[in-house]
Symmetry: C2
Protein backbone atom coordinates (compact mmCIF):
# COMPACT_ATOMS: atom_id res chain seq x y z
CA UNK A 1 0.00 0.00 0.00
CA UNK A 2 2.83 2.35 0.80
CA UNK A 3 3.78 2.76 -2.86
CA UNK A 4 0.35 4.10 -3.75
CA UNK A 5 0.88 6.98 -1.37
CA UNK A 6 3.87 8.08 -3.44
CA UNK A 7 1.72 9.32 -6.34
CA UNK A 8 1.58 13.09 -5.99
CA UNK A 9 -0.44 15.85 -7.50
CA UNK A 10 2.70 16.96 -9.34
CA UNK A 11 2.87 13.53 -10.99
CA UNK A 12 -0.69 13.89 -12.21
CA UNK A 13 0.02 17.43 -13.42
CA UNK A 14 3.11 16.30 -15.32
CA UNK A 15 1.26 13.42 -16.95
CA UNK A 16 -1.64 15.68 -17.93
CA UNK A 17 0.72 18.39 -19.14
CA UNK A 18 -0.69 21.11 -16.88
CA UNK A 19 0.54 23.08 -13.89
CA UNK A 20 0.02 21.73 -10.36
CA UNK A 21 -2.41 24.57 -9.68
CA UNK A 22 -4.47 23.70 -12.74
CA UNK A 23 -4.44 20.01 -11.83
CA UNK A 24 -5.71 20.88 -8.34
CA UNK A 25 -8.46 23.10 -9.74
CA UNK A 26 -9.44 20.42 -12.23
CA UNK A 27 -9.74 17.76 -9.56
CA UNK A 28 -11.80 20.15 -7.43
CA UNK A 29 -14.13 20.74 -10.38
CA UNK A 30 -13.35 24.44 -10.53
CA UNK A 31 -15.34 26.35 -13.18
CA UNK A 32 -12.18 28.18 -14.34
CA UNK A 33 -10.77 24.96 -15.85
CA UNK A 34 -12.06 23.86 -19.25
CA UNK A 35 -13.97 20.57 -19.51
CA UNK A 36 -11.29 19.18 -21.83
CA UNK A 37 -8.51 19.91 -19.34
CA UNK A 38 -10.58 18.50 -16.49
CA UNK A 39 -11.08 15.29 -18.45
CA UNK A 40 -7.34 15.04 -19.20
CA UNK A 41 -6.37 15.58 -15.55
CA UNK A 42 -8.95 13.11 -14.28
CA UNK A 43 -7.86 10.52 -16.77
CA UNK A 44 -4.25 10.93 -15.61
CA UNK A 45 -5.33 10.77 -11.97
CA UNK A 46 -7.25 7.57 -12.54
CA UNK A 47 -4.44 5.95 -14.53
CA UNK A 48 -1.91 6.73 -11.80
CA UNK A 49 -4.41 5.73 -9.08
CA UNK A 50 -3.89 9.13 -7.54
CA UNK A 51 -5.64 9.48 -4.21
CA UNK A 52 -5.59 13.12 -3.25
CA UNK A 53 -4.55 14.09 0.23
CA UNK A 54 -7.81 14.64 2.04
CA UNK A 55 -6.53 17.64 3.96
CA UNK A 56 -5.38 19.43 0.84
CA UNK A 57 -8.63 18.52 -0.86
CA UNK A 58 -10.76 19.81 2.01
CA UNK A 59 -8.70 23.00 2.11
CA UNK A 60 -9.30 23.54 -1.57
CA UNK A 61 -13.00 22.80 -1.28
CA UNK A 62 -13.41 24.77 1.95
CA UNK A 63 -14.85 21.70 3.63
CA UNK A 64 -13.13 19.98 6.52
CA UNK A 65 -15.12 16.74 6.52
CA UNK A 66 -15.16 17.28 10.27
CA UNK A 67 -18.34 17.47 12.33
CA UNK A 68 -18.64 18.98 15.79
CA UNK A 69 -20.47 17.00 18.46
CA UNK A 70 -21.54 18.97 21.50
CA UNK A 71 -23.07 17.25 24.48
CA UNK A 72 -23.67 17.91 28.13
CA UNK A 73 -23.15 14.45 29.52
CA UNK A 74 -21.97 11.98 26.93
CA UNK A 75 -21.62 9.17 29.46
CA UNK A 76 -25.10 9.52 30.95
CA UNK A 77 -27.07 6.30 30.62
CA UNK A 78 -29.39 7.45 27.87
CA UNK A 79 -27.10 9.92 26.08
CA UNK A 80 -24.39 7.28 25.62
CA UNK A 81 -26.18 5.18 22.98
CA UNK A 82 -27.12 8.36 21.08
CA UNK A 83 -23.47 9.48 21.03
CA UNK A 84 -22.28 5.99 20.06
CA UNK A 85 -24.82 5.75 17.23
CA UNK A 86 -23.81 9.17 15.95
CA UNK A 87 -20.03 8.72 16.02
CA UNK A 88 -20.18 5.31 14.36
CA UNK A 89 -22.43 6.58 11.59
CA UNK A 90 -20.25 9.67 11.06
CA UNK A 91 -17.21 7.39 10.93
CA UNK A 92 -18.80 5.08 8.39
CA UNK A 93 -19.50 8.17 6.28
CA UNK A 94 -15.87 9.21 6.68
CA UNK A 95 -16.50 12.28 8.75
CA UNK A 96 -14.19 13.09 11.63
CA UNK A 97 -15.89 14.09 14.87
CA UNK A 98 -14.76 16.81 17.23
CA UNK A 99 -16.39 15.95 20.56
CA UNK A 100 -17.08 18.46 23.31
CA UNK A 101 -18.54 17.05 26.47
CA UNK A 102 -19.73 19.48 29.10
CA UNK A 103 -19.46 17.07 31.96
CA UNK A 104 -16.05 15.54 31.23
CA UNK A 105 -14.62 18.95 30.55
CA UNK A 106 -16.33 20.89 33.33
CA UNK A 107 -14.00 23.92 33.32
CA UNK A 108 -15.09 24.79 29.82
CA UNK A 109 -18.62 26.10 29.78
CA UNK A 110 -20.93 25.86 26.83
CA UNK A 111 -20.13 29.37 25.54
CA UNK A 112 -16.44 28.50 25.40
CA UNK A 113 -17.23 25.23 23.62
CA UNK A 114 -19.25 27.17 21.07
CA UNK A 115 -16.39 29.59 20.53
CA UNK A 116 -13.81 26.81 20.13
CA UNK A 117 -16.07 25.11 17.60
CA UNK A 118 -16.44 28.36 15.70
CA UNK A 119 -12.68 28.66 15.49
CA UNK A 120 -12.32 25.14 14.28
CA UNK A 121 -13.51 24.61 10.73
CA UNK A 122 -16.46 22.19 10.88
CA UNK A 123 -19.00 21.31 8.21
CA UNK A 124 -21.84 20.82 10.65
CA UNK A 125 -22.67 20.49 14.32
CA UNK A 126 -24.59 17.81 16.19
CA UNK A 127 -25.90 18.65 19.66
CA UNK A 128 -26.76 15.59 21.76
CA UNK A 129 -28.96 16.35 24.74
CA UNK A 130 -30.01 14.21 27.67
CA UNK A 131 -33.67 13.77 26.98
CA UNK A 132 -36.29 16.41 26.54
CA UNK A 133 -37.73 16.89 29.99
CA UNK A 134 -36.36 20.43 29.64
CA UNK A 135 -35.89 22.55 26.51
CA UNK A 136 -32.30 23.06 25.38
CA UNK A 137 -31.54 26.69 24.46
CA UNK A 138 -30.94 26.77 20.71
CA UNK A 139 -27.35 27.58 19.69
CA UNK A 140 -28.03 27.36 15.97
CA UNK A 141 -27.64 31.13 15.45
CA UNK A 142 -24.00 30.97 16.65
CA UNK A 143 -22.98 28.93 13.61
CA UNK A 144 -22.99 29.37 9.89
CA UNK A 145 -23.00 25.61 9.35
CA UNK A 146 -26.08 23.39 9.83
CA UNK A 147 -26.86 22.46 13.44
CA UNK A 148 -28.77 19.26 14.22
CA UNK A 149 -30.16 18.23 17.60
CA UNK A 150 -30.55 14.69 18.90
CA UNK A 151 -32.33 13.60 22.07
CA UNK A 152 -32.99 17.25 22.88
CA UNK A 153 -35.90 19.59 22.17
CA UNK A 154 -34.92 23.22 21.66
CA UNK A 155 -36.68 26.53 22.15
CA UNK A 156 -36.47 27.28 18.40
CA UNK A 157 -39.11 25.53 16.24
CA UNK A 158 -36.90 25.99 13.17
CA UNK A 159 -34.28 23.63 14.59
CA UNK A 160 -34.03 20.12 13.21
CA UNK A 161 -34.53 17.81 16.17
CA UNK A 162 -34.39 13.99 16.33
CA UNK A 163 -36.17 12.35 19.23
CA UNK A 164 -37.24 8.92 20.44
CA UNK A 165 -40.97 8.41 20.00
CA UNK A 166 -42.37 8.04 23.49
CA UNK A 167 -45.97 8.32 22.34
CA UNK A 168 -45.46 5.46 19.91
CA UNK A 169 -43.68 3.44 22.62
CA UNK A 170 -46.75 3.68 24.84
CA UNK A 171 -48.97 2.83 21.89
CA UNK A 172 -46.96 -0.30 21.01
CA UNK A 173 -47.05 -1.44 24.64
CA UNK A 174 -50.80 -0.93 24.96
CA UNK A 175 -51.57 -2.61 21.63
CA UNK A 176 -49.37 -5.59 22.51
CA UNK A 177 -51.15 -6.17 25.83
CA UNK A 178 -54.49 -6.06 24.00
CA UNK A 179 -53.20 -8.52 21.39
CA UNK A 180 -52.25 -10.82 24.26
CA UNK A 181 -55.93 -10.83 25.23
CA UNK A 182 -55.64 -8.56 28.25
CA UNK A 183 -58.84 -6.80 29.21
CA UNK A 184 -57.98 -5.19 32.54
CA UNK A 185 -54.81 -3.19 32.08
CA UNK A 186 -53.12 -0.78 34.50
CA UNK A 187 -50.34 1.72 33.87
CA UNK A 188 -47.61 2.14 36.49
CA UNK A 189 -45.29 5.02 35.71
CA UNK A 190 -43.26 7.93 37.06
CA UNK A 191 -44.23 11.51 37.84
CA UNK A 192 -46.43 13.23 35.23
CA UNK A 193 -44.15 16.28 35.38
CA UNK A 194 -41.85 14.32 33.08
CA UNK A 195 -42.69 14.79 29.40
CA UNK A 196 -41.65 11.21 28.59
CA UNK A 197 -44.16 9.96 31.17
CA UNK A 198 -46.96 12.00 29.63
CA UNK A 199 -46.15 10.97 26.06
CA UNK A 200 -45.93 7.26 26.92
CA UNK A 201 -49.24 7.51 28.77
CA UNK A 202 -50.90 9.29 25.81
CA UNK A 203 -49.82 6.57 23.40
CA UNK A 204 -50.95 3.84 25.77
CA UNK A 205 -54.36 5.48 26.15
CA UNK A 206 -54.67 5.88 22.38
CA UNK A 207 -54.06 2.15 21.82
CA UNK A 208 -56.71 1.24 24.36
CA UNK A 209 -59.17 3.83 22.99
CA UNK A 210 -58.75 2.40 19.48
CA UNK A 211 -59.90 -0.94 20.92
CA UNK A 212 -62.86 0.74 22.60
CA UNK A 213 -61.51 0.33 26.10
CA UNK A 214 -59.52 2.25 28.68
CA UNK A 215 -57.01 1.68 31.47
CA UNK A 216 -58.21 0.37 34.81
CA UNK A 217 -56.00 2.91 36.53
CA UNK A 218 -52.78 4.90 36.10
CA UNK A 219 -50.45 5.12 39.08
CA UNK A 220 -47.79 7.84 39.12
CA UNK A 221 -44.66 7.49 41.28
CA UNK A 222 -40.94 7.29 40.50
CA UNK A 223 -38.74 5.55 37.89
CA UNK A 224 -37.50 3.07 40.47
CA UNK A 225 -37.86 -0.65 41.07
CA UNK A 226 -39.21 -0.01 44.59
CA UNK A 227 -42.11 1.95 43.14
CA UNK A 228 -43.00 -1.05 40.96
CA UNK A 229 -43.09 -3.30 44.01
CA UNK A 230 -45.23 -0.84 45.94
CA UNK A 231 -47.58 -0.29 42.98
CA UNK A 232 -48.49 -3.99 42.92
CA UNK A 233 -49.66 -3.65 46.53
CA UNK A 234 -51.78 -0.64 45.58
CA UNK A 235 -53.28 -2.51 42.62
CA UNK A 236 -54.03 -5.51 44.86
CA UNK A 237 -55.92 -3.21 47.23
CA UNK A 238 -57.96 -1.80 44.34
CA UNK A 239 -61.46 -2.89 43.33
CA UNK A 240 -60.56 -4.50 39.98
CA UNK A 241 -57.99 -7.27 39.46
CA UNK A 242 -55.60 -6.55 36.58
CA UNK A 243 -54.28 -8.99 33.96
CA UNK A 244 -51.87 -6.59 32.25
CA UNK A 245 -49.51 -3.86 33.46
CA UNK A 246 -47.74 -1.34 31.25
CA UNK A 247 -44.78 0.00 33.22
CA UNK A 248 -43.26 3.39 32.39
CA UNK A 249 -39.76 1.90 32.34
CA UNK A 250 -37.98 -1.40 32.87
CA UNK A 251 -36.93 -0.64 36.43
CA UNK A 252 -40.55 -0.23 37.48
CA UNK A 253 -41.33 -3.41 35.55
CA UNK A 254 -38.63 -5.40 37.38
CA UNK A 255 -40.17 -4.31 40.69
CA UNK A 256 -43.62 -5.29 39.40
CA UNK A 257 -42.32 -8.71 38.28
CA UNK A 258 -40.67 -9.33 41.66
CA UNK A 259 -43.81 -8.35 43.60
CA UNK A 260 -46.09 -10.43 41.37
CA UNK A 261 -43.87 -13.49 41.66
CA UNK A 262 -43.41 -13.04 45.42
CA UNK A 263 -47.19 -13.09 45.84
CA UNK A 264 -47.58 -16.26 43.77
CA UNK A 265 -48.96 -14.77 40.56
CA UNK A 266 -47.83 -16.37 37.29
CA UNK A 267 -46.32 -14.08 34.66
CA UNK A 268 -47.64 -13.82 31.97
CA UNK A 269 -50.51 -16.28 32.62
CA UNK A 270 -52.10 -14.25 35.42
CA UNK A 271 -50.59 -10.86 34.67
CA UNK A 272 -48.63 -9.78 31.56
CA UNK A 273 -46.03 -7.02 32.00
CA UNK A 274 -44.42 -4.62 29.49
CA UNK A 275 -41.64 -2.12 30.21
CA UNK A 276 -39.76 0.56 28.26
CA UNK A 277 -36.01 0.97 27.56
CA UNK A 278 -34.85 -2.57 26.75
CA UNK A 279 -32.48 -2.34 29.63
CA UNK A 280 -31.73 -6.06 29.43
CA UNK A 281 -30.20 -5.55 25.98
CA UNK A 282 -27.24 -3.99 27.78
CA UNK A 283 -26.83 -7.12 29.87
CA UNK A 284 -24.32 -9.48 28.28
CA UNK A 285 -26.23 -12.65 28.96
CA UNK A 286 -29.40 -12.55 26.89
CA UNK A 287 -30.63 -15.79 28.44
CA UNK A 288 -31.46 -13.76 31.51
CA UNK A 289 -34.20 -11.79 29.75
CA UNK A 290 -37.35 -11.57 31.87
CA UNK A 291 -39.20 -8.73 30.22
CA UNK A 292 -41.14 -7.72 27.14
CA UNK A 293 -40.20 -4.10 26.60
CA UNK A 294 -40.17 -1.26 24.08
CA UNK A 295 -36.73 -0.26 22.81
CA UNK A 296 -36.64 3.47 21.99
CA UNK A 297 -33.69 2.87 19.62
CA UNK A 298 -31.54 5.67 20.99
CA UNK A 299 -28.63 4.42 18.89
CA UNK A 300 -30.87 4.90 15.87
CA UNK A 301 -31.67 8.45 17.03
CA UNK A 302 -27.92 9.13 16.96
CA UNK A 303 -27.56 7.53 13.53
CA UNK A 304 -30.31 9.46 11.77
CA UNK A 305 -29.22 12.70 13.43
CA UNK A 306 -25.69 12.06 12.13
CA UNK A 307 -27.10 11.54 8.64
CA UNK A 308 -28.87 14.87 8.93
CA UNK A 309 -25.62 16.63 9.82
CA UNK A 310 -24.20 15.44 6.49
CA UNK A 311 -27.38 15.88 4.42
CA UNK A 312 -29.39 18.52 6.29
CA UNK A 313 -33.16 18.54 6.05
CA UNK A 314 -34.64 21.54 4.28
CA UNK A 315 -37.18 22.23 7.03
CA UNK A 316 -36.95 22.41 10.81
CA UNK A 317 -39.10 20.51 13.24
CA UNK A 318 -39.17 17.40 15.37
CA UNK A 319 -38.49 14.00 13.79
CA UNK A 320 -39.34 10.87 15.72
CA UNK A 321 -37.52 7.56 15.45
CA UNK A 322 -39.68 4.44 15.46
CA UNK A 323 -39.33 2.33 18.62
CA UNK A 324 -39.37 -1.48 18.56
CA UNK A 325 -41.28 -3.95 20.68
CA UNK A 326 -38.87 -6.56 22.07
CA UNK A 327 -40.55 -9.77 23.15
CA UNK A 328 -39.63 -11.51 26.38
CA UNK A 329 -41.21 -14.02 28.75
CA UNK A 330 -43.37 -11.44 30.58
CA UNK A 331 -46.12 -11.37 27.92
CA UNK B 1 -19.09 36.10 19.27
CA UNK B 2 -19.76 36.43 15.59
CA UNK B 3 -17.76 39.65 15.33
CA UNK B 4 -14.60 37.96 16.59
CA UNK B 5 -14.69 35.65 13.61
CA UNK B 6 -14.28 38.66 11.35
CA UNK B 7 -10.62 39.20 12.27
CA UNK B 8 -8.61 37.81 9.38
CA UNK B 9 -5.01 36.99 8.72
CA UNK B 10 -4.95 39.93 6.30
CA UNK B 11 -5.94 42.24 9.17
CA UNK B 12 -3.05 40.98 11.24
CA UNK B 13 -0.68 41.33 8.28
CA UNK B 14 -1.81 44.92 7.66
CA UNK B 15 -1.40 45.87 11.31
CA UNK B 16 2.05 44.27 11.48
CA UNK B 17 3.04 45.83 8.16
CA UNK B 18 3.94 42.53 6.47
CA UNK B 19 2.50 40.45 3.66
CA UNK B 20 -0.17 37.84 4.38
CA UNK B 21 2.31 35.10 3.50
CA UNK B 22 4.85 36.45 5.97
CA UNK B 23 2.19 36.79 8.66
CA UNK B 24 1.18 33.17 8.11
CA UNK B 25 4.80 31.98 8.28
CA UNK B 26 5.40 34.05 11.41
CA UNK B 27 2.37 32.56 13.18
CA UNK B 28 3.51 29.10 12.15
CA UNK B 29 6.97 29.80 13.62
CA UNK B 30 8.70 29.36 10.28
CA UNK B 31 12.52 29.67 10.47
CA UNK B 32 12.54 31.92 7.36
CA UNK B 33 10.92 34.78 9.31
CA UNK B 34 13.14 36.92 11.56
CA UNK B 35 12.49 36.90 15.32
CA UNK B 36 11.68 40.63 15.22
CA UNK B 37 9.02 40.15 12.53
CA UNK B 38 7.59 37.16 14.35
CA UNK B 39 7.27 39.23 17.52
CA UNK B 40 5.56 42.05 15.62
CA UNK B 41 3.07 39.70 13.94
CA UNK B 42 2.30 37.91 17.17
CA UNK B 43 1.78 41.16 19.01
CA UNK B 44 -0.68 42.28 16.31
CA UNK B 45 -2.47 38.91 16.40
CA UNK B 46 -2.84 39.12 20.16
CA UNK B 47 -4.05 42.69 20.11
CA UNK B 48 -6.69 41.90 17.49
CA UNK B 49 -7.59 38.64 19.27
CA UNK B 50 -6.93 36.87 15.99
CA UNK B 51 -7.93 33.21 16.16
CA UNK B 52 -6.53 31.51 13.10
CA UNK B 53 -8.74 29.24 11.10
CA UNK B 54 -7.79 25.79 12.33
CA UNK B 55 -8.02 24.22 8.90
CA UNK B 56 -5.68 26.77 7.35
CA UNK B 57 -3.37 26.43 10.32
CA UNK B 58 -3.29 22.65 10.13
CA UNK B 59 -2.65 22.86 6.39
CA UNK B 60 0.28 25.17 6.99
CA UNK B 61 1.66 23.03 9.79
CA UNK B 62 0.98 19.76 7.98
CA UNK B 63 -1.04 18.53 10.96
CA UNK B 64 -4.74 17.79 10.74
CA UNK B 65 -5.50 17.61 14.46
CA UNK B 66 -7.49 14.55 13.43
CA UNK B 67 -6.92 11.11 14.92
CA UNK B 68 -8.03 7.84 13.38
CA UNK B 69 -9.83 5.34 15.59
CA UNK B 70 -10.00 1.82 14.23
CA UNK B 71 -11.99 -0.85 16.00
CA UNK B 72 -13.53 -4.20 15.26
CA UNK B 73 -16.65 -3.97 17.37
CA UNK B 74 -17.12 -0.57 18.96
CA UNK B 75 -20.48 -1.49 20.47
CA UNK B 76 -19.32 -4.73 22.11
CA UNK B 77 -19.90 -4.64 25.85
CA UNK B 78 -16.29 -4.18 26.87
CA UNK B 79 -15.01 -2.23 23.85
CA UNK B 80 -17.70 0.44 24.26
CA UNK B 81 -16.29 2.07 27.44
CA UNK B 82 -12.80 2.06 25.90
CA UNK B 83 -14.09 3.84 22.78
CA UNK B 84 -16.13 6.30 24.89
CA UNK B 85 -13.16 7.10 27.12
CA UNK B 86 -10.95 7.64 24.07
CA UNK B 87 -13.29 9.87 22.07
CA UNK B 88 -14.13 12.06 25.06
CA UNK B 89 -10.46 12.53 25.93
CA UNK B 90 -9.56 13.28 22.31
CA UNK B 91 -12.42 15.78 22.19
CA UNK B 92 -11.32 17.52 25.37
CA UNK B 93 -7.86 17.84 23.80
CA UNK B 94 -9.49 19.27 20.68
CA UNK B 95 -8.68 16.43 18.36
CA UNK B 96 -11.25 15.29 15.84
CA UNK B 97 -11.76 11.54 15.59
CA UNK B 98 -12.28 9.58 12.41
CA UNK B 99 -13.94 6.35 13.52
CA UNK B 100 -13.84 3.11 11.56
CA UNK B 101 -15.78 0.25 13.02
CA UNK B 102 -15.36 -3.17 11.46
CA UNK B 103 -18.65 -4.51 12.65
CA UNK B 104 -20.92 -1.58 11.86
CA UNK B 105 -19.33 -1.23 8.47
CA UNK B 106 -19.04 -4.89 7.59
CA UNK B 107 -18.57 -4.44 3.84
CA UNK B 108 -15.31 -2.64 4.41
CA UNK B 109 -12.63 -4.99 5.58
CA UNK B 110 -9.67 -3.98 7.69
CA UNK B 111 -7.32 -3.53 4.73
CA UNK B 112 -9.73 -1.09 3.14
CA UNK B 113 -10.08 0.80 6.44
CA UNK B 114 -6.30 1.04 6.60
CA UNK B 115 -6.13 2.36 3.08
CA UNK B 116 -8.85 4.95 3.67
CA UNK B 117 -7.07 6.11 6.80
CA UNK B 118 -3.82 6.41 4.85
CA UNK B 119 -5.55 8.62 2.32
CA UNK B 120 -7.03 10.80 5.00
CA UNK B 121 -4.47 12.98 6.73
CA UNK B 122 -4.35 11.90 10.39
CA UNK B 123 -1.83 12.77 13.09
CA UNK B 124 -2.08 9.43 14.81
CA UNK B 125 -4.09 6.23 14.97
CA UNK B 126 -5.73 4.49 17.90
CA UNK B 127 -6.69 0.84 17.49
CA UNK B 128 -9.27 -0.37 20.02
CA UNK B 129 -9.49 -4.14 20.30
CA UNK B 130 -11.95 -6.36 22.09
CA UNK B 131 -9.76 -7.79 24.82
CA UNK B 132 -6.57 -9.72 24.50
CA UNK B 133 -7.65 -13.32 24.46
CA UNK B 134 -6.17 -13.31 20.95
CA UNK B 135 -3.29 -11.27 19.55
CA UNK B 136 -4.25 -8.50 17.13
CA UNK B 137 -2.02 -8.42 14.02
CA UNK B 138 0.01 -5.22 14.21
CA UNK B 139 -0.83 -2.64 11.54
CA UNK B 140 1.72 -0.10 12.75
CA UNK B 141 3.97 -0.58 9.70
CA UNK B 142 1.17 0.59 7.37
CA UNK B 143 1.32 4.12 8.80
CA UNK B 144 3.90 6.84 9.09
CA UNK B 145 2.08 8.37 12.07
CA UNK B 146 2.18 6.90 15.61
CA UNK B 147 -0.16 3.95 16.21
CA UNK B 148 -1.43 3.20 19.71
CA UNK B 149 -3.35 0.11 20.79
CA UNK B 150 -5.97 -0.07 23.54
CA UNK B 151 -7.59 -3.21 24.93
CA UNK B 152 -5.64 -5.27 22.41
CA UNK B 153 -2.32 -7.05 22.55
CA UNK B 154 -0.45 -7.18 19.25
CA UNK B 155 2.09 -9.51 17.70
CA UNK B 156 4.72 -6.75 17.63
CA UNK B 157 6.49 -6.09 20.96
CA UNK B 158 7.46 -2.60 19.77
CA UNK B 159 3.82 -1.50 19.71
CA UNK B 160 2.52 0.74 22.48
CA UNK B 161 -0.36 -1.14 24.06
CA UNK B 162 -2.72 -0.08 26.88
CA UNK B 163 -4.49 -2.84 28.76
CA UNK B 164 -6.62 -3.37 31.84
CA UNK B 165 -4.63 -5.00 34.63
CA UNK B 166 -6.26 -8.37 35.22
CA UNK B 167 -3.44 -9.62 37.43
CA UNK B 168 -3.84 -6.60 39.68
CA UNK B 169 -7.65 -7.07 39.69
CA UNK B 170 -7.23 -10.59 41.05
CA UNK B 171 -4.69 -9.35 43.56
CA UNK B 172 -7.03 -6.60 44.85
CA UNK B 173 -9.90 -9.10 45.17
CA UNK B 174 -7.78 -11.62 47.08
CA UNK B 175 -6.27 -9.01 49.39
CA UNK B 176 -9.71 -7.54 50.13
CA UNK B 177 -11.14 -10.93 51.15
CA UNK B 178 -8.13 -11.47 53.45
CA UNK B 179 -8.64 -8.01 54.96
CA UNK B 180 -12.23 -8.98 55.65
CA UNK B 181 -10.86 -11.80 57.80
CA UNK B 182 -11.60 -14.63 55.40
CA UNK B 183 -9.45 -17.73 55.89
CA UNK B 184 -11.08 -20.26 53.56
CA UNK B 185 -11.34 -18.69 50.12
CA UNK B 186 -12.38 -20.31 46.82
CA UNK B 187 -12.03 -18.99 43.27
CA UNK B 188 -14.87 -19.59 40.81
CA UNK B 189 -13.97 -18.52 37.31
CA UNK B 190 -14.24 -19.25 33.59
CA UNK B 191 -12.14 -21.48 31.34
CA UNK B 192 -8.37 -21.23 31.85
CA UNK B 193 -7.91 -20.95 28.06
CA UNK B 194 -8.85 -17.30 28.51
CA UNK B 195 -5.85 -15.09 29.27
CA UNK B 196 -7.98 -12.81 31.50
CA UNK B 197 -8.95 -15.85 33.58
CA UNK B 198 -5.31 -16.87 34.02
CA UNK B 199 -4.13 -13.35 34.90
CA UNK B 200 -6.91 -12.80 37.46
CA UNK B 201 -6.14 -16.17 39.02
CA UNK B 202 -2.40 -15.36 39.17
CA UNK B 203 -3.05 -12.08 40.99
CA UNK B 204 -5.46 -13.75 43.37
CA UNK B 205 -2.91 -16.46 44.20
CA UNK B 206 -0.19 -13.86 44.71
CA UNK B 207 -2.32 -11.97 47.27
CA UNK B 208 -2.98 -15.15 49.20
CA UNK B 209 0.67 -16.27 48.97
CA UNK B 210 1.79 -12.91 50.39
CA UNK B 211 -0.40 -13.67 53.42
CA UNK B 212 1.12 -17.15 53.70
CA UNK B 213 -2.01 -18.95 52.59
CA UNK B 214 -3.58 -20.36 49.47
CA UNK B 215 -6.98 -20.93 47.87
CA UNK B 216 -9.17 -23.79 49.07
CA UNK B 217 -9.95 -24.59 45.46
CA UNK B 218 -10.26 -23.02 42.01
CA UNK B 219 -13.23 -24.06 39.88
CA UNK B 220 -13.11 -23.38 36.14
CA UNK B 221 -16.34 -23.16 34.12
CA UNK B 222 -17.96 -20.41 32.07
CA UNK B 223 -18.53 -16.63 32.46
CA UNK B 224 -22.23 -17.20 33.16
CA UNK B 225 -24.53 -16.77 36.11
CA UNK B 226 -25.62 -20.41 35.88
CA UNK B 227 -22.05 -21.52 36.44
CA UNK B 228 -21.94 -19.45 39.64
CA UNK B 229 -25.06 -21.19 40.92
CA UNK B 230 -23.69 -24.60 40.04
CA UNK B 231 -20.29 -23.82 41.58
CA UNK B 232 -21.90 -23.19 44.99
CA UNK B 233 -23.30 -26.72 44.87
CA UNK B 234 -19.86 -28.09 44.05
CA UNK B 235 -18.30 -26.12 46.91
CA UNK B 236 -21.00 -27.37 49.28
CA UNK B 237 -20.15 -30.94 48.32
CA UNK B 238 -16.45 -30.30 49.01
CA UNK B 239 -14.58 -31.23 52.19
CA UNK B 240 -13.91 -27.65 53.39
CA UNK B 241 -16.56 -24.95 54.00
CA UNK B 242 -15.63 -21.60 52.43
CA UNK B 243 -16.11 -18.13 53.91
CA UNK B 244 -14.99 -16.14 50.87
CA UNK B 245 -15.42 -16.55 47.09
CA UNK B 246 -13.56 -14.60 44.44
CA UNK B 247 -15.61 -14.82 41.23
CA UNK B 248 -13.96 -14.32 37.84
CA UNK B 249 -16.66 -11.87 36.81
CA UNK B 250 -19.85 -10.28 38.12
CA UNK B 251 -22.18 -12.65 36.29
CA UNK B 252 -20.65 -15.64 38.07
CA UNK B 253 -20.85 -13.63 41.30
CA UNK B 254 -24.58 -12.92 40.84
CA UNK B 255 -25.18 -16.66 40.42
CA UNK B 256 -23.09 -17.35 43.54
CA UNK B 257 -25.06 -14.74 45.52
CA UNK B 258 -28.39 -16.20 44.42
CA UNK B 259 -27.35 -19.76 45.28
CA UNK B 260 -25.93 -18.74 48.67
CA UNK B 261 -29.05 -16.80 49.58
CA UNK B 262 -31.37 -19.54 48.31
CA UNK B 263 -29.63 -22.00 50.63
CA UNK B 264 -29.96 -19.69 53.64
CA UNK B 265 -26.37 -18.45 53.91
CA UNK B 266 -25.89 -14.83 54.95
CA UNK B 267 -23.76 -12.62 52.70
CA UNK B 268 -21.24 -11.38 53.79
CA UNK B 269 -21.50 -12.78 57.35
CA UNK B 270 -21.22 -16.43 56.34
CA UNK B 271 -19.63 -16.00 52.91
CA UNK B 272 -18.12 -12.83 51.38
CA UNK B 273 -18.20 -12.51 47.59
CA UNK B 274 -16.13 -10.38 45.18
CA UNK B 275 -16.65 -10.09 41.40
CA UNK B 276 -14.90 -8.35 38.51
CA UNK B 277 -16.25 -5.80 35.97
CA UNK B 278 -18.40 -3.48 38.09
CA UNK B 279 -21.34 -4.40 35.97
CA UNK B 280 -23.74 -2.72 38.38
CA UNK B 281 -22.14 0.65 37.62
CA UNK B 282 -23.96 0.47 34.29
CA UNK B 283 -27.26 0.03 36.10
CA UNK B 284 -28.98 3.36 36.59
CA UNK B 285 -30.20 2.71 40.08
CA UNK B 286 -27.15 2.48 42.31
CA UNK B 287 -29.26 1.55 45.32
CA UNK B 288 -29.59 -1.88 43.75
CA UNK B 289 -25.89 -2.68 44.23
CA UNK B 290 -25.40 -6.16 45.68
CA UNK B 291 -21.76 -6.79 44.94
CA UNK B 292 -18.23 -5.80 45.88
CA UNK B 293 -16.31 -5.93 42.62
CA UNK B 294 -13.14 -4.83 40.85
CA UNK B 295 -13.62 -2.20 38.16
CA UNK B 296 -11.03 -2.62 35.39
CA UNK B 297 -11.49 1.05 34.41
CA UNK B 298 -11.89 0.40 30.69
CA UNK B 299 -12.88 4.04 30.21
CA UNK B 300 -9.52 4.94 31.75
CA UNK B 301 -7.78 2.56 29.32
CA UNK B 302 -9.37 4.55 26.48
CA UNK B 303 -8.36 7.86 28.06
CA UNK B 304 -4.66 7.07 28.59
CA UNK B 305 -4.44 5.48 25.15
CA UNK B 306 -5.90 8.68 23.66
CA UNK B 307 -3.29 10.70 25.52
CA UNK B 308 -0.61 8.49 24.00
CA UNK B 309 -1.91 9.14 20.49
CA UNK B 310 -1.30 12.85 21.09
CA UNK B 311 1.95 12.51 23.06
CA UNK B 312 3.38 9.16 21.97
CA UNK B 313 5.58 7.20 24.36
CA UNK B 314 9.19 6.83 23.27
CA UNK B 315 9.25 3.07 23.84
CA UNK B 316 6.91 0.25 22.94
CA UNK B 317 5.47 -2.28 25.33
CA UNK B 318 2.40 -3.06 27.40
CA UNK B 319 1.08 -0.45 29.85
CA UNK B 320 -1.46 -1.51 32.45
CA UNK B 321 -4.17 0.71 33.90
CA UNK B 322 -4.80 0.38 37.64
CA UNK B 323 -8.16 -1.21 38.49
CA UNK B 324 -10.27 -0.06 41.44
CA UNK B 325 -11.97 -2.05 44.17
CA UNK B 326 -15.63 -0.97 44.42
CA UNK B 327 -17.24 -1.81 47.74
CA UNK B 328 -20.74 -3.22 47.95
CA UNK B 329 -22.80 -5.20 50.46
CA UNK B 330 -21.30 -8.60 49.52
CA UNK B 331 -18.13 -8.15 51.64
Amino acid sequence: MATQRAVRLSDVAAVAGVSKATASKALNDSPVVSPATKARVREAAERLDFRPNALALSFASGRSRTVGLLTHRATATFSRPVVMGAILRLGSRERAVLVFDGRIDAHRDMAESVRTLQDRRIDGLLVVGSGYARLTPSITHHFDVPVTYAFAATDDPDDVVFLPDNERAGYLAGRHLLERGRTSIAHVTADADDLAVRRREEGFRRALAEAGTEAVTTLHGTWRREWGERAVEILDDGPVPVDGIFCGNDHIAFGVLDALEASGRRVPDDVAVVGVDNWEEVVVDQKLRRLTTVDLDLTGVGRVAADNVIDPAAHGGERFVEPALVLGPST
